[in-house]
Amino acid sequence: ATALKASPGPYKLDDAMTPEKDVTSYNNYYEFGTGKGDPSASSGSFKPSPWTVKVDGLVTKPKEFGLEELLAFPLEERIYRMRCVEAWSMVIPWIGLPLAGLLDKVEPLGSAKYVAFETVVRPEEMPGQAGYFQPLEWPYREGLRLDEARHPLTILSVGLYGKTLPNQNGAPIRLVVPWKYGFKGIKSIVRISLTETPPPCTWNLAAPNEYGFYANVNPAVDHPRWSQATENRIGEGGFFGANRRDTLPFNGYGDEVASLYAGMDLTANF
């Protein structure tokens, strides 16, 4: 990770930031292994540069963006809460660009309703993608509704804590959607496609009753195997302290995003 300049963005929090060492050593990134420590331990040979992101599908001007072009967008620092579907959370100072800005460049067609994302497949650099046991089907895929993708809170992140993204956090470019569970934040993106129908999403395909397409943080809708009412803030409270806090609807971003779901039954569309 090298230093990365960004201007302070419009989103800040009163919550204390999660220590950098926790943000970069406690990760879910199954392409590098299913253990929380696996991504930081076994992503050393991953090469995040050179890199291109192909943006295609229902757009007027499909384009492949080189990493340098992406870094040339105005970069902002955004301090966001991150709520994992596993009932833990962090506060992370991301650096990134609003996804809407990138989408503007390719001019989505009127028929485009959804945005599909794809992670790179490199078994030779990503041990979780190689061998007899592979926990998920690759490439990892995720998707958003177009209005969610264009929301000002939604960013493509290229860094955190003032530096380029470490491999274990999804280098060189990943999605951050702070009102949704962390697994929506697809990492090491190589392709973004605009589609008319809801795109397939990896965890939703793996266990549709546990992981919905929307995956909005919602304390009122439990995961079948655990409650989502509370969360454990990583790096706080320690071993004996009561570090459980209540989970907020839309992860605390309800004022900004609740209107996107007006009239929807969020228990059915979880």
Partner: protein, 218 residues
């Protein structure tokens, strides 16, 4: 077949206490690391999961004592009680870590978890079944209960299966580690189904004068 050198009799008793001491080491070291902030990330979960994993390991270990005696002729029966009780202590600590450190004694969510989440229900059932086994793990109970003691302690097969299942159901993706424990428990419990026939067959081999692989044990 080569056999291990036998431990002199005077060391039998102390060796059991050594086993207890060694068996508790993983819990003590993890507790120390957790309490001093040296467990990475989600320290409470790490501690909780480690205790659960060791509980399962000790449960599996109790089930290996009989096949080891049947197949290799090494009799470690004197260690079985200690290994079984270590399994119980680890399950107890696993539960306490969940209740006190993880859920911070908020009783209502704990009860909801036990009632509503099948993997927690199964884990709790295994814990509940282990309690009578732990209470009767002493010479007095064995004398007192006679054959009923054997029957009661066959519950350990159900408990081990429940433990391996609890582990597999707790994770987001069932991986090699979970499959390993499920397979191991299936194999060890399965051995009980064929062992009488196997031992009889081997005795016949010896009686009829044909070379047996080894002397029938027990």
């Amino acid at each position: 077949m080569a056999s291990l050198p036998t431990l002199p009799k005077r060391f039998h008793g102390p060796s059991v206490w050594v086993l207890y001491a060694l068996g508790l080491c993983p819990a003590i070291s993890a507790f120390y690391l957790g309490a001093t902030g040296k467990l990475p990330g989600n320290a409470v979960k790490e501690f909780e999961h480690l205790l659960g994993l060791w509980a399962l390991r000790f449960l599996v270990a109790t089930l290996t004592i009989t096949p080891i005696r049947d197949l290799i002729g090494i009799n470690w029966l004197r260690y079985r009680r200690a290994v079984g009780l270590l399994a119980f202590y680890y399950v107890l600590m696993h539960f306490l870590a969940y209740m006190v450190l993880d859920q911070t004694l908020r009783i209502q969510p704990i009860i909801a978890d036990i009632a509503r989440r099948p993997f927690i229900t199964i884990g709790m059932a295994a814990f509940a079944m282990l309690i009578p086994l732990a209470i009767t793990s002493n010479n007095w109970s064995i004398r007192r209960l006679g054959q009923r003691w054997n029957k009661l302690h066959r519950l350990v097969y159900v408990i081990a299966a429940a433990g391996a299942l609890h582990f597999a159901m707790a994770v987001k993706v069932v991986g090699p580690e979970q499959m390993f424990y499920l397979g191991l428990v299936a194999l060890l419990v399965g051995w009980r189904a064929v062992r009488t026939r196997f031992l009889r067959w081997r005795r016949q081999q010896v009686v009829s004068g044909r070379p047996a692989t080894e002397k029938a044990a027990g």
